[in-house]
């Protein structure tokens, strides 16, 4: 990769006119009754099924990210930030357009793989395997993960099912598992503000560490301060469109003016 780059700027992620459409069943007609569903099916035309609603979440976003960049994604709720991240990670198929990446970008987050009925111990292993770590890697990092989460500070909680944890404890364990792996292209989706103050400081430090190891970092956050602190470039999305792309300070200023802060 990158044999003849003249400017020292190596692209790691290229988004080329990306469109993403969600299809949602059971919304059409406004009424959810069985007769409404039936009549929708009867009226079904040749094109899109009537009962299906399309949500055009990302509309024609193009940008190029380079190695060593930390990019913040900003925008109001529902502007398509998380959706765009998932598409970059290759987790959500694009409707049209392409995303090219260097290696395998990964989303920081393992929540979906964990099971609340299992002990914290087993969830560490399960989460690690789900992220693609080997059994040896997990064994090696197990103590580190548990210590980092601080779950065992108040007694032997790691051998209890996760459903017995307080929401803060569970969030801490989830973050600790997710942050145990190093990534080439790392994407963080508002996972920063979990747990108590002590843990937040610790996790911010860990994020900085991950940033150093990763080639490119994407960060979604509504906390403009954390975007300012960590990112040198920002993308502003609104209604699925890329409104602005530039240095963090410039974009944030425009964003803050627009949202009236």
């Amino acid at each position: 990769m990158a044999e003849d780059n003249t400017q020292g700027r190596i692209p790691t992620v290229i988004a080329d006119d990306v469109h993403i459409v969600y299809r949602v069943n059971g919304t059409g007609g406004g009424r959810g009754s069985a007769t409404a569903a039936l009549s929708r099916m009867m009226r079904r035309g040749k094109g899109e099924p009537r009962g299906m609603r399309k949500v055009h979440a990302v509309r024609g976003v193009s940008f190029t990210a380079y190695r060593g960049e930390a990019i913040g994604l900003i925008g109001t709720n529902g502007s398509g930030k998380s959706t765009l991240l998932r598409a970059i990670a290759g987790l959500l198929p694009t409707e049209s357009g392409r995303v090219y990446t260097d290696g395998q970008p990964s989303l920081l987050g393992v929540n979906a793989a964990l099971m609340s009925d299992l002990t914290g111990e087993r969830n560490v292993v399960l989460g690690g395997l789900a992220m693609g770590m080997t059994r040896d890697e997990i064994r090696e990092r197990y103590d580190e993960i548990v210590d980092f989460s601080g779950i065992n500070e108040k007694g032997d909680f790691i051998t209890l099912p996760m459903r017995t944890y307080s929401s803060g404890m569970a969030a801490r364990l989830r973050f600790s598992i997710a942050a145990a792996k190093n990534h080439d292209v790392l994407m963080i989706d508002e996972a920063l503000a979990t747990g108590d103050h002590k843990f937040r400081v610790r996790s911010e430090a860990r994020i900085r560490e991950l940033r150093k190891e990763a080639g490119t970092v994407f960060l979604v956050s509504h906390n403009n301060k954390s975007i300012r602190d960590t990112c040198d470039r920002a993308l502003w999305l609104e209604k699925g469109e890329l409104l602005m792309d530039g240095p963090t300070e410039e974009v944030l200023k425009a964003y803050e003016r627009e949202t009236g802060k």
Binding site: L91, Y100, T101, D102
Partner: protein
């Protein structure tokens, strides 16, 4: 990567470098970037899947444990559930309806219990398969792994569940007078074949279910029809001897009936080869290979599209 990367992308917003004027596709090609989320080749996919074997196994075991972790009796339910199941079927079909026509009493109970357990193995794999993608969209949208891991993992969970049922089954068989013998070993290849068949079917259902989640509502009716047609609680040749022969043939060669018969033949002394259709092992193997291969390829074909909802 199977997907082509040269379809003339739109020119970018002019980056001030030597790369200026390159389309996205050319730029990507120049720096060796690949399409995110593109479908790997079939063999690369198999390799990835093998790389994830520990995850597949751990996930299936986690699901199995999580199932009963809130119950007071805990994992004991793994054995009690199939036992109760068998008891209900015996009550209805053995005592009340008397479907045992043509089967001696001491053969009928193990015959029925084997049928119920072996059929449940396939049935629950199908049901779990339908929901394996649509019910785990959170997982699919958060982490990278070959998506076939999910249906395979669910099929594997059912196999482990079956192991508990086998404890019950073997006890029932012994109680009704068939004692352990070498022929019992035939259960292993029979269940291995059935597992491949189930996994293939789960893969097919997973892809269908990911597009049409309604299948989860429909499947119980289909599998129930399938169960009654497969001779779980009656002997197909005896029950259908007045009907045209081809009906019994079709029913007997349906995969569920084949695997049930193979296990019954292996375990039950009074259930000899005269009850089995011809070339029964070949038929079992054919179903396993057919569904295994077709199911896997069919699932893989849509690999990059799972996760759209």
């Amino acid at each position: 990567m199977s997907d082509t990367t040269h379809d003339g992308g739109v020119a970018l917003g002019a980056p001030p470098s030597a790369d200026e004027g390159l389309g996205a596709a050319q730029l990507a090609a120049k720096y060796g970037l690949t399409v995110s989320g593109a479908r790997p080749g079939l063999f690369a996919y198999l390799r990835q899947l093998w790389g994830r074997r520990h995850f597949i196994l751990a996930f299936s075991r986690a699901k199995l444990t999580a199932q009963y972790s809130q119950a007071k009796l805990g994992q004991l339910w793994q054995v009690v559930t199939p036992l109760l199941n068998a008891a209900v079927y015996y009550l209805i079909f053995g005592l009340i309806l008397g479907t045992r026509k043509g089967i001696p009493e001491d053969v009928f109970v193990p015959f029925l219990v084997t049928g119920v357990f072996v059929f449940t193995f396939t049935q629950s794999s199908v049901m779990a398969g339908v929901r394996s993608i649509s019910g785990n969209l959170g997982l699919v949208r958060a982490l990278h792994f070959p998506r076939a891991s999910l249906p395979i993992s669910f099929a594997l969970q059912q196999l482990q569940q079956l192991m508990f049922s086998m404890i019950v089954l073997l006890s029932v068989v012994v109680i009704f007078g068939s004692y352990p013998s070498l022929s019992w070993l035939l259960v292993i290849p029979a269940l291995v074949l059935q597992f491949f068949f189930n996994t293939g079917l789960a893969l097919v259902m997973a892809r269908l279910g990911s597009k049409t989640p309604d299948l989860a509502q429909l499947m119980p009716f289909i599998t129930r029809t399938w169960m009654y047609a497969s001779g779980v609680m009656f002997s197909i040749p005896v029950m259908l001897k007045d009907k045209p022969a081809w009906i019994a043939d079709v029913l007997q060669y349906n995969p569920a009936a084949i695997y049930m018969d193979l296990v019954r033949f292996a375990l039950i002394d009074g259930y000899g080869s005269e009850n089995l259709p011809d070339h029964v092992w070949a038929a079992g193997l054919a179903w396993a290979v057919l569904l295994g291969v077709v199911g896997f390829v069919y699932f893989w074909k849509a690999e990059e599209r799972y996760g759209r909802g």
